[in-house]
Symmetry: C2
Subunit: 336 residues, 2 copies
């Protein structure tokens, strides 16, 4: 294995001139094609991710209803699903993007909480027996296993609903225009032509002979739309120009696809112990993925190209949020 200094490190576009956490290495892969690794270099990113995770967890703790009344069981299930040790990647995106536009952290944290509960709802419903039928999620029994199917359906519904409640409350932003815009964009991103549409396509994917265009489309709906919302939300909160909103979405689109490709790679190459969920399911279920079509090395090369482009998109913001520039590259080496 040969390590060599890269000339393509995305963060060169971000204007970080300190040199710290700038090094990047080309790692020879088995196929001979060099690939990038940032694992040992992006020391600041794991810290930033942990900070974001702590921030959103504190907000979620105060926002989610404490179990009470005859309906306590649904509150318990909402909390069980939410506090399951997730990566909090979408909250991290909201918080980081909001920094670009000088948004008060407390406001950004509320939007971060909203996107996290919405993401959590999608996991709870996707895990149901009639969907992906997963018993394990983030290393723990899924919500319908820990509780029961009925409670899981209701807890998912309640998490989806509270996401909009959080956004609409005046504490989220003093401008009702901003609050309405957040609600509208989240509903579009999560709806039948967004995340749910992607899930519908994915559920049928095993029965179809999808090519890479269809797979990219479905992933941009299924996982990409929430990433796009998360990044754009920073610009909405900052009452930034449409140009900024578009730029953040463009970044998120590429970054989201990197996330998905690396997720599919983990399904092929990793273990349940590392990922905290069942692996090898795509092949077992006959699901079309970019990894299946392009091969492991081809998919990895595509992810690297997208990661570089994502980081380059943020060049106009200089070094205002270096962790956003680093993230796509960081994802290339994730283990869970």
């Amino acid at each position: 294995m040969v390590l060599s200094k890269s000339r393509n490190y995305p963060c060169m576009f971000c204007g970080n001139e300190t040199g710290r956490s700038h090094g990047v290495f080309m790692v020879g892969s088995n196929s001979g094609a060099p690939r990038m690794s940032a694992r040992t270099q992006s020391l600041s990113l794991p810290t930033a991710l942990r900070d974001a995770s702590r921030t959103v967890d504190e907000m979620l703790e105060s926002i989610l209803p404490a179990p009470h009344g005859l309906q306590a069981r649904v509150h318990e299930a909402m909390r069980y699903a939410t506090f399951a040790g997730g990566k909090r990647l979408r909250p991290f995106l909201v918080l980081s993007a909001a920094k670009l536009f000088g948004v008060a952290p407390a406001r950004a944290a509320r939007v971060a909480a909203a996107i996290e509960v919405l993401h959590t709802y999608s996991l709870v419903h996707d895990d149901l027996p009639c969907m992906d039928d997963d018993d394990l999620r983030r290393g723990r029994p899924t919500t319908h296993i820990a509780f029961d199917e009925m409670t899981a359906v209701l807890a998912g519904d309640a998490l989806l609903t509270i996401a909009f409640e959080i956004l609409a409350r005046p504490e989220t932003h003093s401008s009702a225009e901003v609050r309405s815009a957040l609600v509208l964009r989240l509903a579009e991103a999560a709806g039948s032509n967004g995340m749910i549409g992607g899930q519908m396509i994915d559920m049928q994917a095993g029965q179809n002979a999808f090519g890479s265009d269809e797979i990219i489309h479905l992933q941009r709906l299924k996982t990409g739309q929430l990433f796009e919302f998360s990044c754009e939300a920073g610009a909405i909160l900052g009452q930034a120009k449409q140009e900024d909103r578009d730029r953040l979405r463009s970044y998120a689109r590429d970054m989201g696809l990197v996330f998905q490709i690396t997720d599919d790679l983990l399904d092929v190459t990793s273990t349940a112990e590392k990922t905290g969920k069942a692996v090898g399911k795509d092949k077992e279920q006959g699901k079309a993925t970019l990894v299946a079509i392009m091969g492991i090395d081809g998919a990895r090369a595509e992810a690297e190209k997208l990661a570089r482009r994502a980081s380059a998109t943020l060049a106009p913001y200089g070094n205002a949020a270096p962790e956003l520039c680093e993230l796509p590259l960081y994802l290339l080496d994730r283990e869970s």
Copy 2:
């Protein structure tokens, strides 16, 4: 059977002085206690209900996505569930309450569409095998029977999501404050301390020895909250005072309980042909209802008392929306 002119007709509080559709009769019940009937008198109400139904159906037709793309199946299921010949009672409430405050009908129709798709989502999920396990709804196969469970879960999720999208779009109201307030109230009404909480309690009701207080509480959450939102939405759209919002909610609280008691009565006394859904299920599932506790005549008497109080609440608005005053009484005699 003795018919006699009643002195208690609720609409006497509404200031309608024309005398038309004002007559009401006491109908002797088998137990000897007189009860009110408005069936043959409220000629205007069925017309108003049909008009509201047509208005909201036109709006729903234009708002719900036409089936398209690889995700077409979820769009089809959303439409299948929505266009199933429902009573459109909640849209009627929105449209009628909005009239009290001089709201433009096109705006009210959008809010009416939002509450109807939200109500429809709740039916789709409630019918699932892990919930009420109903094969029949409004005389047709339920969504998970006509499609499949996975599609029904996703279609329900999508209907819930689009409800908030509809409210947040600028076409609903030029004031973002109004749009945000609508989103917030709907999320509260539909959430884990509203409708979903009620459903959670109801799902456990068979296992508990509920008294009438608990049943009233659960019904006020499960069905009452959406009625409260529907009526209050008219005041929100009209940017009316808090006093008006409270008054409309108070009306809806009583009216909603009348609706629920008569629903439970139908479950005991009617047939599947008339109601378009399975009957006798409450007893079969050991569910506590006010009818089971108070008996048929006791429950009917309670419903009549509540119906009178609901209509009286609207006295301050004179004859601005006589159909709202008539509704609670009309419900006493519904057959489906």
